[in-house]
């Protein structure tokens, strides 16, 4: 299901390419494109409205125009002043959670896919189930465990908690890829006296680069987007991810919408950048985690 192998896509589209002349720019095709653009525009209107409002002048934006004809960047200036530190916290936590997810999930995914060890089926089942456990259950218990351990209001505490989504997802998506990995390559290296660990690091990991990237991107996005753990496992302003910063921003009585929306835009940057720069991996992850 995971279309992580880059060759997969081109192979699949190649056979039908010659028999589909309708893909050319016929008048009908143009009409379809027009309707498609309208549909996407409606769906993405809220995103546009966020950007538009972020460029409105300070205040409660009584009269936001339809177009940002006189863009005012003071919203961004205030957003950076108020939330700059929180953005940095989010970045550190999300990068940390992505690395942790890969370090823990990659060897496990490889073992589940390639070693015939007992308990594989049970472990895969538990990983699948774990994705369905409501986050509030985890947060409830983690708060009580973190308090005596001093992990409340700490970056490591948040990294560990935020990886709860990335790790099961990464295990599943990488295992799906590694099941197609030709065992003979590793066997050959093993014959040459290469240990399991060395074979894994120097052969398996480089070859499965694409699925590593997909898993890493999603683990990053899960942690970057996390709100519940931030809400429950931090109490002050010292360590505050931007999602929580945004929430406390809206909570104030006279909301300054232009800086709220500027913060919202800044919080969306990673998602947008990854979507443009890593479209292939995003598409693989979108379906790969759900339908095995």
């Amino acid at each position: 299901m995971t279309t992580t192998a880059s060759t997969g896509a081109s192979v699949r589209t190649a056979p039908d390419a010659p028999v589909t002349p309708r893909r050319r720019r016929t008048p009908r095709g143009i009409v379809h494109t027009g309707i498609g653009i309208v549909l996407v525009a409606i769906m993405l209107f809220p995103v546009y409205w966020m950007v538009n409002a972020s460029l409105a002048p300070q205040g409660n934006s009584l009269n936001t125009g339809w177009l940002p004809l006189h863009p005012d960047t003071s919203g961004y200036a205030r957003a950076f002043a108020d939330q700059g530190k929180n953005l940095l916290t989010s970045l550190v936590v999300a990068v940390g959670a992505a690395i942790l997810s890969l370090v823990i999930a990659a060897p496990c995914a490889y073992a589940l896919a390639q070693f015939r060890i007992r308990g594989t089926a049970v472990l895969v089942f538990l990983v699948l189930i774990s994705q369905m456990i409501p986050g509030i259950v985890i947060a409830n218990a983690l708060y009580t465990a973190y308090t005596p351990l001093g992990l409340i209001n700490t970056v490591p505490g948040l990294i560990l908690a935020d990886a709860t989504q990335g790790i099961p997802f990464s295990i599943l998506i990488m295992r799906a890829y590694l099941e197609t990995f030709p065992a003979s390559i590793v066997e050959a290296a093993r014959v040459d006296g290469c240990g399991h660990l060395r074979a894994f690091v120097s052969i398996v990991l480089p070859v499965s680069r694409n699925s590593l990237i997909t898993a890493g991107i999603f683990s990053f996005l899960f942690a970057w987007s996390d709100f519940l753990m931030a809400l429950t496992l931090t109490t002050g302003e010292s360590i505050r991810p931007v999602t929580l910063g945004l929430y406390t921003y809206i909570g104030t009585n006279d909301t300054d919408w232009s800086s709220v929306m500027a913060t919202a835009v800044l919080s969306s940057v990673p998602a947008v950048v990854l979507m443009i720069a890593a479209q292939k991996y995003i598409a693989a992850g979108a379906t790969g985690g759900a339908v095995k």
């Binding site: 993405l44 986050g135 990886a163 399991h196 947008v272 990854l274």
Partner: protein
């Protein structure tokens, strides 16, 4: 030794071939016996993590739900056993019934909306036309945004006096008075469902589109010869073949929707007057606002039970889909 190497491995050989392990280890023997510990070491970190961050919380929730675990517990460490008291008080509270009903309405409403619109869009973008691929991947964007960002944006859109939705509705004469979408208990749940439908559409499009891609084109060509076009081909070819994917999409939708918390906290905080309170938000409220972790845990156990019920149904449907497809 060199002659046995495949050319593909030549690059890795020099470094590995000379290691002492290569000399001492009897080669190609005892695939099962050799390094069993090493192989378990590959899964050990993940198992440990899952035990600590999933196993422990689940057990802890069950234990806490039978304890008077509240604010004082954090000071004196005492959490006396109280039997089923937490369940009795959490479940007999009128807010529980309200939250249960809201969870049901929120889930069913969201799923129906997401699925119908998602299916429509994926059928539309299934055709090949210029830019169809680009436009389809743009549709995924709302799904990638942090949920709290979407909540903030929609709060601004749905704002009573200056929100763009009321401005448009008033401008077109559809309403005469601005509606307090999120502040009136009559409309808050509907508004929250609307926003969640918007959030869930990309997920539905992604899965349904890949399901549609898996239906062979020849079937439609054959159907065309038999006069099955348009609605008929949808009814007799698309729907039956898409069924396994549909059940997976719907069940996963339910599993993800019943635990939604960020969005509701961000939009309404469960209010006004509990109009948008769900099991998840109520559990959060009990634990973290009222500091009654015992009752909060009791309620989240109810949530786990519901989630697991649907998870089992989902895993069976998924296994069936994998077998058939």
């Amino acid at each position: 030794m060199t002659s046995l190497d495949s050319p593909a491995l030549a690059a890795t050989r020099p470094a590995d071939g000379r290691s002492p392990a290569a000399v001492s280890r009897p080669r190609r023997r005892g695939r099962s016996g050799d390094g069993a510990l090493v192989r378990y070491a590959f899964i050990a970190p993940a198992v440990l993590y899952l035990l600590l961050f999933y196993g422990y919380p689940i057990v802890k929730n069950v234990v806490m739900s039978f304890q008077a675990y509240d604010f004082s517990t954090f000071f004196n460490g005492r959490a006396p056993f109280v039997g089923l008291d937490n369940y009795a008080s959490a479940l007999s509270n009128p807010i529980f019934l309200k939250a249960l009903a809201n969870t049901g309405l929120f889930t069913v409403g969201s799923i129906i909306g997401q699925f119908i619109i998602g299916l429509g869009l994926s059928l539309y973008f299934r055709r090949h036309f210029p830019l169809s691929g680009v436009l389809r991947s743009l549709l995924l964007l709302p799904w990638l945004l942090p949920m709290i960002v979407s909540a903030a944006v929609w709060r601004w859109i749905l704002e009573q006096d200056n929100g763009v939705l009321n401005r448009v509705l008033e401008g077109t004469g559809l309403i005469s008075e601005p509606i307090g979408w999120l502040t009136s208990s009559d409309t808050a749940l509907v508004a929250v469902i609307m926003v969640n439908i918007w959030l869930g559409i990309p997920f539905n499009v992604a899965l349904l589109y890949s399901g549609l891609q898996a239906i062979p084109e020849e079937l439609y060509e054959a159907g065309q010869l038999d006069g099955a076009t348009g609605w008929k081909s949808f009814r007799h070819i698309t729907l039956p073949l898409l069924r396994p994917v549909v059940s997976v999409v719907l069940l996963l939708g339910v599993i993800y929707t019943i635990k939604v918390l960020d969005l509701i906290i961000g939009l309404t905080g469960g209010g006004p007057a509990n109009a948008t309170q769900t099991l998840a938000t109520r559990s959060y409220e009990l634990s973290f606002l009222e500091f009654d972790f015992g009752q909060g845990a009791a309620l989240s156990n109810v949530l786990i039970l519901i989630a697991l019920l649907f998870s089992v149904v989902y895993l069976r449907a998924n296994a069936r889909a994998a077998k058939n497809g």
